[in-house]
């Protein structure tokens, strides 16, 4: 199993008000693509309720740094009571969403993601030595 070192631990952000769910999602998706991350969407939930939509998305894009280490960012987004509203901006009507959004960010450095050093206890021991002393600049 690859080793995961926590770099960012449960960073939280909450917002309530007007925003566009589509634009927010696209912005996050495009940012990751632009930064060279591979897409990974673990979960995508959309439930239509009388008080508005409940949306939950769990993204876990990753980017290989070397053959040994990769960066993983985990974002959990929960949106509550998402309703569609029409707003006038610069004399034009635009459709936006109103609701509450909650983000949780985690960042990891994943080492030995191909599990090459997992075969035997001695390899595991050597990997720890390498992680601690030889690959120190990465970890």
């Amino acid at each position: 199993m690859p080793e995961r070192e926590v770099v960012v631990d449960k960073l939280k952000l909450t917002y309530e008000g007007l925003f566009s769910v589509r634009e927010l999602y696209n912005l996050i998706d495009e940012w990751f693509r632009w930064k060279g991350y591979d897409k990974r969407e673990n979960k995508n939930i959309e439930i239509v309720k009388p008080e508005g939509k409940f949306i939950e998305i769990e993204l876990e894009p990753w980017k290989k740094v070397t053959d040994y280490a990769k960066n993983v960012i985990k974002i959990r987004i929960q949106m509550f009571d998402i309703k569609e509203v029409e707003v006038e901006k610069d004399h034009t009507k635009i459709k936006l969403n109103q609701g509450k959004v909650h983000f949780v960010f985690d960042g990891f450095l994943e080492t030995d993601y191909e599990s090459r050093w997992e075969g035997q206890p001695i390899f595991y021991f050597l990997r720890t030595i390498f992680d601690k002393y030889f690959y120190k600049p990465f970890t």
């Binding site: 589509r22 696209n26 969407e41 979960k43 995508n44 959309e46 969403n97």
Partner: protein
Amino acid sequence: MSKTLSFRKVRYVPIIKFGGIFNYEGFMKTLRNWIVDQGYEFHETSVKYKVPSPIGSEVEYAWWGWRKVNSYVKFHIDVFFHFWDLHDVEVVREGKKQKLQSGRFQIEITGRCELDWTNRFAGSRFMQALADFYDNYIVRRDIDTIYTDQLYYRLYKFQKVAKEYLDFETKESAYQDVW
């Protein structure tokens, strides 16, 4: 001696969950058509239907699609649907009465990349070892960066079709032009 099948499992792809009103028949048809249009041989491997309760029925489907990529690689797509509380509802949309379905469901999509499907390396232990060496050292990069990567992003395209049909707020994808 028959060769053990060699699969590279694509990292599991998103679980989609939805709850609300939708067109059940149209949804299933759209997804099935996508698999067929992409050149996959389509199989419905299992269907389970439980006797409906007052809140609706529980239905499960397992789909399997496969497609030859070349004489060495074959793609497999496995889709598992699980519906709960599925029942008919009548909706008035744009002044017209429509019969739709209400319920909640979960879809799991997985991809597998089958190697040496023509069994070129079948026959002996030596050939099996040769196949392992070929897969793990000679063509390993191609398998990882061309084939499994391609299958991985195709599964996201399939997911996008489902999201578009259900009009998810997150139906757009910045990775649409990858593969």
